[in-house]
């Protein structure tokens, strides 16, 4: 099979990613309603932004905690052909020598902030879910995810009623994505430390990452370091560059 859709695709997207120039995008005006790989008239940017807000309201209204992903029984697990993305120049690897032991911080608007080592994380109630992953690019892939429900971590931390959003932060060069609280508390939203029965590999976000089928791939922060409960969303790596912030599936 062709390699065209392997990780390079996203790297190429990054080249043209300045939202300002997208929104201002003067040059693309003329005769741009049809074809020519055009971005369309700049005058439409306000309309597009309004439609994104409208769509987000609809997506939130459609959202159900009991709407579950079930990976098709006949689908083959992607295994090593699962594409791996990160924004650093090389695969980010947590160096204990430089940064000390890895810990997952759970904080923000919570009554009992915590810092969990990987061992402590693995002692919490464990779930194994065979899930289909949906990438913004259009591909999907099946894997078994092993980890802890985010709702479990939230319960232990005692999330304040003022929290409306969650930010998932990483050690991958500042990559983070914030979510609406509802999606974060979906029963299939996990902090994952194992994939396909193996410990999570560095290419896939070791030591731990967020994973949920209710969000597009880019919302699922890998190389996780901090889960912050917030009064309002604070953007994200891809959302800040023009990808829709909600990114719901």
């Amino acid at each position: 099979m062709s390699r065209l859709w392997l990780p390079r695709a996203h790297a190429a997207e990054r080249l043209g990613l300045d939202r300002r120039s997208f929104l201002a995008g003067g040059g693309a005006l003329a005769a741009s309603l049809l074809g020519c790989d055009s971005r369309g008239p700049a005058a439409a940017s306000g309309l597009l932004a309004r439609s994104e807000r409208w769509n987000e309201r609809l997506e939130r209204a459609l959202f159900r905690h009991d709407a579950m992903n079930v990976a098709p029984a006949r689908a083959r697990a992607a295994g090593p052909s699962f594409p791996s993305y990160f924004i650093s120049d090389e695969v980010p690897v947590w160096s204990e020598a430089e940064r000390g032991r890895w810990r997952l911080e759970v904080g923000g608007l919570v009554r009992r902030p915590a810092e969990l080592t990987l061992a402590e994380l693995m002692e919490l109630p464990r779930v194994d879910l065979r899930l289909e992953h949906f990438c913004v690019e259009g591909w999907s892939a099946v894997a078994v995810r092993t980890g802890v429900r985010l709702s479990e971590l939230a319960r232990r931390a005692g999330v304040s009623p003022d929290a409306r959003a969650v930010d998932f932060q990483s050690f991958d060069d500042g990559y983070h994505e914030s979510w609406d609280l509802e999606s974060a508390l979906h029963p299939q939203t996990l902090v994952v430390y194992g994939q396909d029965g193996q410990p999570l590999e560095p290419a896939f976000g070791a030591p731990a990452r967020v994973y949920s089928p209710v969000k597009l791939g880019y919302k699922n922060t890998k190389y996780l370091t901090r889960i912050l409960f917030l009064p309002a969303a604070n953007g994200g790596y891809w959302s800040d560059q023009g990808y829709e912030w909600y990114g719901g599936v």
Partner: protein
């Protein structure tokens, strides 16, 4: 003498639909190019011969993946709202009678095809549309509906999982979305070709609404690119006998 042919609602929704389809197809192809294949990762796909080959960039719209998605998810409202207005009008106004298949459609379509191929000399009798048009204008909204339903299925494969399952899962829903697009492109291309090759006078009807029945393809006995000119006025014309109104 022009008589009214297309109601204002039909004319407006026709052109809004043309714009919405162009936006949806252009941005859809740009989205497709981010992963121009159907196979799930680690699998192969049976039914698409061009797996992994992107669509030429000049056919796409939206500039980059996120931009194309913003256009796609905005223009979808235009497409759906406009489509519903059209269907509601066609139903309430009774125009559906000129559009739905009826007994003998297959036979009439065969006769039209025989006429276009030169196997039959006289243009088959028709109402507002000939049998091939009737078929195309009926099938167009059907594929439109398939495009919308399969689009919803790949937009929300978790929250609206039953719809995705109905279409055979996410991978197949994506495929049916693409097939529906191909069908809409093929129908539109054939439609535009036939307008210019057989009935350019229909352009006026879809803009101002007026249509001169004496210049209709049936009156001209017109095949593609044959007898495009209107029959001469009776005064001094030898063509008149051949193609004049009955």
């Amino acid at each position: 003498m022009a008589t009214p042919r297309h109601h204002l609602v039909v004319r407006v929704t026709h052109w809004v639909n043309a714009l919405a389809l162009a936006l949806m197809i252009g941005s859809g192809l740009r989205i497709f190019n981010a992963y121009p294949a159907f196979a799930r990762q680690g699998e192969t796909f049976c039914c698409y011969p061009f797996e992994g080959r992107p669509i030429p960039a000049w056919l796409t719209f939206g500039g980059w993946l996120a931009g194309a998605r913003h256009w796609h998810f905005a223009a979808m409202w235009l497409l759906v709202a406009n489509g519903l207005v059209y269907l509601a009008f066609v139903y309430l106004h009774g125009e559906w009678r000129d559009l739905v298949p009826r007994r003998g459609l297959l036979r009439d379509a065969l006769e039209m095809t025989r006429f276009y191929l030169g196997l039959r000399k006289d243009h088959p009798r028709q109402g507002k549309h000939n049998a091939l048009q009737r078929f195309a204008y009926f099938v167009m909204p059907v594929f439109g509906a398939l495009a919308v339903v399969s689009g919803i299925a790949i937009w929300k494969p978790v929250q609206l999982a039953p719809i995705t399952a109905l279409l055979g899962g996410y991978v197949w829903a994506r495929y049916w979305h693409f097939v529906a697009m191909l069908a809409l492109v093929a129908l539109s291309a054939a439609h535009v070709f036939m307008v210019f090759a057989v009935d350019p006078y229909a352009l006026r009807a879809i803009v101002t609404g007026g249509y001169d029945e004496s210049k209709s393809p049936e009156a001209r006995n017109a095949r593609p690119f044959r007898r495009l000119r209107p029959p001469r006025p009776p005064a001094g014309a030898k063509d008149a006998a051949e193609g004049g109104p009955r």
